[in-house]
């Protein structure tokens, strides 16, 4: 099937930029069957499978791609699901260019195989054409009972895996909806919420009990959960605590954290205000500070909410931007402006407490810092003023402390993250496990899922050992 002539990669059809920048529907439309087969035939089936090593959960990439090439789309979907239970999401949001596709052999001389787009195709095909998944009988508590806290990708995966292993699982979420960042952070135009819903429904149908509006640590404490008979607790509470720019004017009206802006838009559906009750305000000229996925999502959401001009201000250069390449390109196509090597110094105020401008300073890159990226240094005297009325701060988040500060003796790292064993999710307290952003700080969906799955096995081993000894 392989040929020596390198065919260019098949791009996914997308909504045209001038149309999509005015709606919240998904931007990328996905492959057709023909396009998927055509793209699949580009894979040369490397015997050493370098791509598999690039995937944090080790999806058997050449195997599923060859099934697509043969037209066995359902088989391909099953193959992916052996390793990744949420392919419809990962195909859409994984930073493929720095994971599986980064090490694809074809990438050395041309474009790598579009692994993410193919994965997404399989998952979407299965959703439409696959057998409805059998409803499992409610899992009994015979093996044990586990509380999973947080319904982001880490918690969802951990709960699903424990349920499969035969445990009774109760998943606790403090918000009124499941999904974590998948729900409140990543916008509809990048990850339709129907996909998140379907995944949650599936887990429920398998017997996982979901309890919304429970802030563990406050509504019910960890000690109480143990007393109620839970054998182990998994903490997947994420890194949802935003920090601000730390410049004068950050509390002016018109300054949002990306979390507030995106939560209003996504979780509360403020983009449909007043049909939905939660308001959101976007001015004419918006500046988003930051260079990650969160910044891209905020900028593109602001555009869709009617901003005339949206500028992303980032203190390093394009090469250091942590956002997914595809989303940076999408943002650019939609007309988002990038002002690189610039950093805010202060936000200017009109006479009524609203933003009327932002003063920035130019930066240049110095030596690499501990993250391996070159450190930005301000250029003295290079200050300039941007004429803006809305500022969205997307400069990062910290681990959520609400629950962990109620657990006395839990070992924490320097940044308030929970310290947990990478292979098992074990913390220093017996019976308490953790994984995802609460351990690593903001990372990726696939990394959180990987951690949730490993912790499920860590918990299984812990409960088996405990019960073995107890008998």
């Amino acid at each position: 099937m392989s040929s020596k002539v390198r065919k260019p990669r098949h791009e996914m059809p997308k909504q045209a930029p001038d149309i999509r920048s005015k709606n919240f529907e998904e931007v990328a439309l996905g492959y057709t069957e023909d396009l998927a087969v055509a793209e699949a035939t580009r894979c040369i089936g490397c015997p050493k499978k370098p791509c598999v090593a690039g995937c944090p959960v080790g999806v058997d990439i050449p195997e599923f791609i060859s099934l697509i090439a043969e037209g066995d789309f359902l088989g391909a979907a099953r193959k992916i699901k052996e390793k990744n239970s949420l392919p419809a999401m990962c195909g859409r949001v994984c930073p493929q260019e720095s994971q599986c596709e980064a090490v694809c052999t074809l990438g050395k001389k041309g474009d790598p195989v579009a692994i993410g787009a193919l994965e997404r195709f399989c998952a979407d095909y299965e959703r439409v054409h696959g057998e409805p998944l059998a409803k499992a009988g409610l899992s009994d508590a015979s093996l044990g009972k586990v509380a999973v806290v947080g319904s982001g990708p880490a918690g969802l995966t951990c709960a699903a895996e424990l349920n499969k292993l035969g445990y009774k699982v109760v998943l606790f979420e403090s918000l009124h909806a499941t999904g974590g960042v998948l729900r409140y952070g990543i916008p509809e135009f990048r990850l339709p919420k129907a996909i998140v819903d379907e995944e949650v429904e599936y887990i429920k149908s398998q017997g996982v009990e979901i309890r919304l509006n429970v802030l563990v640590g406050t509504t019910v404490t960890v000690d109480e959960l143990f007393r109620q008979g839970f054998d182990a607790i998994f903490l997947g509470t994420g890194a949802g605590l935003p920090y601000f720019l730390g410049v004068p004017g950050e509390n002016l009206n018109g300054v949002y954290s990306a979390n507030e802006f995106l939560t209003r838009a996504n979780l509360m559906k403020a983009y449909r205000f007043p049909e939905y009750d939660t308001p959101i305000w976007v001015g004419k000229r918006v500046v988003v500070v930051g260079g990650g996925n969160v910044a891209m999502d905020s900028a593109r959401t602001a555009l869709r909410l009617g901003a005339e001009k949206v500028t992303v201000v980032y203190r390093r250069s394009r090469a250091e931007m942590p956002a997914r390449l595809e989303e940076v390109e999408n943002a650019e196509e939609e007309g988002i402006e990038f002002m690189l090597l610039s950093n805010p110094v202060r936000i200017l105020e009109d006479d009524k407490g609203w933003v009327k401008g932002m003063e920035c300073i130019r930066m240049e890159l110095g030596e690499a810092d501990d993250s391996g990226r070159r450190r930005p240094i301000p250029v003295p005297g290079s200050e300039f003023i941007l004429d803006v009325d809305t500022v969205i701060s997307a400069v990062g988040t910290n681990p959520n402390p609400l629950l962990i500060r109620t657990v006395s003796g839990l070992a924490l790292g320097r940044r308030g993250n929970v310290i947990a064993d990478e292979a098992t999710g074990k913390t220093n307290i017996p019976g308490i496990f953790a994984g995802g952003d609460i351990v690593t700080g903001s990372a990726t969906v696939i990394a959180a899922m990987g951690a949730g799955k490993l912790a499920a096995h860590g918990i299984d081993e812990y409960i088996r050992t405990k019960n073995g000894r107890g008998m």
Partner: protein, 283 residues
Amino acid sequence: MYKILKKETLAPKIKLVEVNAPEICAHAHPGQFVVLRMHERGERIPLTIADSDAKTGLLTMVFQEVGKSTTELGTLNEGDCIQDIVGPLGTPRDIEKLDCVVCVAGGVGVAPIYPEAKAYHRLGTRVISLIGAQTKDMLIFKDRMEQVSDEVYYSTDDGSFGHKGFVTEVLCDLLEKGLRPDEVIVIGPLLMMREASRVTAKFGVKTIVSLNAIMVDGTGMCGSCRVTVDGETKFSCVEGPAFDGHKVDFNELIARQRRFLAEEKLAMEHYLAGAGGCKCHQK
């Protein structure tokens, strides 16, 4: 789903509802609040836990109809349901026995101050309550406050009951006469809390205010509720809602309270048009 088990109209536009929420009640402390969402399209609004009973699991909330969400909440009756309630949220007040505290409440602020007055009273602290309202009809929780206070002073803007004028004038008067409580607690409109803090600062009396910043999640994840206290940014849903009144930047908070004024107006108009016009959501 939380079914409304009891509903009372306490005063024009001020209503009380009670729901069964045993987990919240088992953990609630004075000064804490819940965030509720009425239905699928609703916004998340914070309301103070006006009373809670760990034995019966009954949670009491008192609210004033000021905009779309509270007005719609006011239309729910016994038997209707509130879809989501999460809590208890916020840092509990650290309440210990003192010699004397003064509780200053304005308008619907009487309801949230009641659990604190009650807790101090139970510990044997002398509780002096100053309650202000626009007019006599708007005075709520009178019996309850009298039960947990050693002295109660009233004021109304129109003089229909008690002192004619602002409740902060009563406070100033008592302090001028030499009263030196260990702590003054103030809950009410921002302007009133600002004024009360200004008054007590003159006398060097410790003052705790309960801020009502605009919130979304109420769990520290969005920063919508941020306020400047002593020059530092704080999230009032997690680090508050109670803060030292002498250190709060009230002017900034008053400005932030107006962030969505135009949208709030639109929401109300949209709601009233819907409620008056089509009847599809009724029944």
